[in-house]
Amino acid sequence: MSKADILNTIRRGLGRGLPSDAERQQVLARITRHERNLIPMRGQGSESEVQALFIEMAKEAAAEVIELPSLQALPGAVREWLQTANIPDLVMASDEELKSLDWTELHPIVQHERVALAGDLASLTLAFMGIAETGTLMLYSRKESPTTLNFLPDNHLVVLKRQDIVGVYEEAWARVRALSPGQLPRTVNMITGPSRSADIEQRLQMGAHGPRALTIFLIG
């Protein structure tokens, strides 16, 4: 009832009846074309410019960026970070690329592969992309990388490979669509810095409900 009522009211307002199939297809062609709107120049530099911009913008958004020469250096760097923060446990995503590394180096820190629980102090996940124009990370939900890892723990450690940095959001959408044609993952997160709120007197405080700190391990 309501649906027909709403749609009929819209059509009456537009001064037309039910659109024909041909009219509908003509409008929906915009969707199949994935037409791009104006894209700001800022994110359209050379590869090295785009990578430098990503780092600059991520830092501006209060993310920490730690550059590593290779994935092999990751377990040691993560151990060092956690020990400095005095955190004894790490909840990790189980992507093959992460699992294949030698994690004995993490000792004495205890490693878990599960969803995040309230009280977890740190998580480690793999970013799908980095978007330079605003220093934004893109992550998505899958069996190996549950979404709670990105939000519940106090500290979110994210691995990003340098070659996965693109200049603008549009390039990331093209790559997300290619993941599984016709269906997005349940959750796609764009994350720019750690959680914050200015709801008390417009005074910015870090660490509202999501992670208090966001650390990006930039590989390569």
Binding site: I6, L7, T9, I10, G13, L14, P19, E23, R24, V27, R30, I31, H34, E35, R36, N37, L38, P40, M57, A61, V115, A118, T134, S141, K143, P146, T147, T148, N150, F151, L152, Y169, E170, W173, V176, R177, Q183, P185, R186, T187, V188, N189, M190, I191, T192, G193, P194, S195, R196, S197, A198, D199, I200, E201, Q202, R203, Q205, A208, H209, G210
Partner: protein, 470 residues
């Protein structure tokens, strides 16, 4: 919530003398406009994006039925449900039924103005379900039994002392005047609630027809915990939020944060598409989208159609001298400021909200900062005209306008009258040319002096210049 828009004048009078409110409103005036201006300066293409945003919204509205049906088809394809609700009552019942079917006792909520619009919290409570607001500002207001006074900074009318006292009374912890400590308290209090909730309700900033997704934009991460942890996720949103593609959503995201908080990008922009997948380890088992109409479809094709472009950034109220002086609660319903003065009469009726579109100096700042070029003064004028035609304007004002119109249509008489009153006012002004007291306009002279007019009227000066050959 109780509608107090008919008492707008009284509300405003009280607000102007409320010392605490006036102090808090300084945080709007001194913060948002500068932050927005800085963000705009950093993006040279900003104005071109605004033009594109306006054009794209116009395209969407002209094909709203098609995009909404495409959105619905894709939500269903992904295993979700769409509920079409013509009225607030339809929406409340729909949401309650979903909660009851799940045996829900508590519901966590992300920030949503549409749930304010449909009065959801009171309704859930009356039916034995506890709603828990999780946005820091909304949480503070829920503890205080108040409603938001701003669409993106709901507790902007409060000062640190207010929050400190509220938390002290509810959290049973030592009183603190440190905002960081207060936020930490809220974080700890809400953590268990997030995990325990049976249903999570969020709004949506946009709905993507192409993928059947909803997107929320937050800085705190509360919306993400709300839509990830409970077994059921309900998105409560309105029909004009649909956009064709991810690229189109991106255009609006580039405009939204910069116009709203002046950020380059909001911290969390999250797309939700259907329920969790069989192999996923977390995420909701059910995904519902409640599409609220509540008078919006009636705006299509009418004089208010352009208001449907609104992306709820709050730039209009952040830059409004009237909002900045009286705050959001004075407007007496959910949506304050210029956008509220256009929407409220549509949703609660012009007979209750007629004072709102009159509460504007028509300085035009709202239109000049709107990311989708909504002609807010023009739309407020539409309501003023409507009000006059329906004889809702107070007698004195009607008489005043009619009297003015009588003279305006008789130029000779008009000039004679203006010359006479000009002379009288100059006499009253004395040597200094300032008038201290004037009957009828004591609203002006009680607070400041009125300057006496110049010695010649505009028409006299005009005629003299014409003769002199200028």
């Amino acid at each position: 919530m109780q509608i107090t828009s008919p008492q707008f004048k009284e509300n405003a009078r009280i607000a102007l003398t409320d010392v605490g409110l006036q102090k808090a409103l300084g945080n709007v005036k001194n913060g948002f406009p500068q932050k927005r201006a800085n963000a705009v300066k950093r993006l040279p293409e900003f104005d071109q994006l605004r033009d594109q945003g306006r054009d794209l919204k116009n395209h969407i509205i002209a094909n709203l039925d098609i995009y909404l049906e495409e959105f619905e088809a894709n939500v269903i394809k992904n295993g979700g449900h769409v509920h079409w609700c013509r009225t607030s009552e339809d929406a409340r019942q729909t949401i309650l039924k979903i909660c009851q079917d799940k045996g829900a006792k508590t519901v966590t909520k992300g920030k949503s103005m549409v749930t304010e619009e449909i009065n959801l919290n009171e309704y859930l409570e009356a039916n034995g379900i506890t709603p828990v607001e999780t946005d820091l500002g909304e949480y503070i207001l829920q503890l205080r039994g108040e409603h938001p006074s701003h669409i993106i900074a709901p507790a902007i009318h409060l000062n640190l002392e207010d929050v400190s006292e509220t938390f002290h009374a509810h959290h049973h912890k030592p009183k603190s005047m440190d905002p960081a400590v207060l936020m930490q308290e809220a974080r700890e209090e809400l953590r268990a609630r997030f995990v325990a909730a049976d249903v999570g309700i969020t709004g949506a900033n946009f709905l993507v027809a192409e993928t059947g997704s909803s997107i929320i934009v937050t800085n705190e991460g509360n919306g993400d915990l709300t839509q990830t942890l409970p077994k059921t996720h309900i998105v409560v949103t309105s029909i004009e939020k649909v956009v064709p593609t991810l690229e189109d959503m991106t255009l609006f995201l580039r405009l939204l944060a910069r116009s709203a908080t002046g950020q380059e990008f909001t911290v969390y922009n999250t797309l939700s598409t259907g329920p969790k997948r069989p192999e996923d380890q977390d995420g909701p088992e059910d995904y519902h989208v409640v599409l609220v109409d509540n008078g919006r479809s009636d705006m299509v094709g009418g004089e208010l159609q352009e208001m449907l472009r609104c992306i709820r950034c709050a730039a209009c109220m952040n830059h409004c001298p009237v909002y900045g002086s009286i705050g959001g609660h004075s407007y007496g319903w959910v949506y304050p400021g210029p956008m509220g003065s256009v929407l409220t009469p549509q949703m609660i009726g012009i007979e209750k909200a007629a004072l709102l579109p009159n509460a504007s100096t028509f300085c035009g700042k709202c239109e000049s900062v709107c990311p989708v070029h909504i002609p807010l003064p023009k739309l407020m004028r539409h309501w003023r005209k409507n009000e006059f035609e329906r004889h809702l304007t107070p007698k004195a004002a009607r008489w005043g306008i009619k009297t003015w119109a009588f003279f305006a249509k008789r130029p000779t008489l008009y000039r004679l009258l203006s010359q006479t009153s000009n002379r009288m006012l100059r006499l009253l002004g004395g040597k200094k040319g300032r008038i201290h007291k004037l009957p009828v306009v004591s609203g002006w002279t009680d607070h400041r002096e009125m300057p006496a007019p110049s010695s010649k009227t505009f028409m006299q000066q005009w005629n003299e210049k014409q003769k002199a050959g200028h």
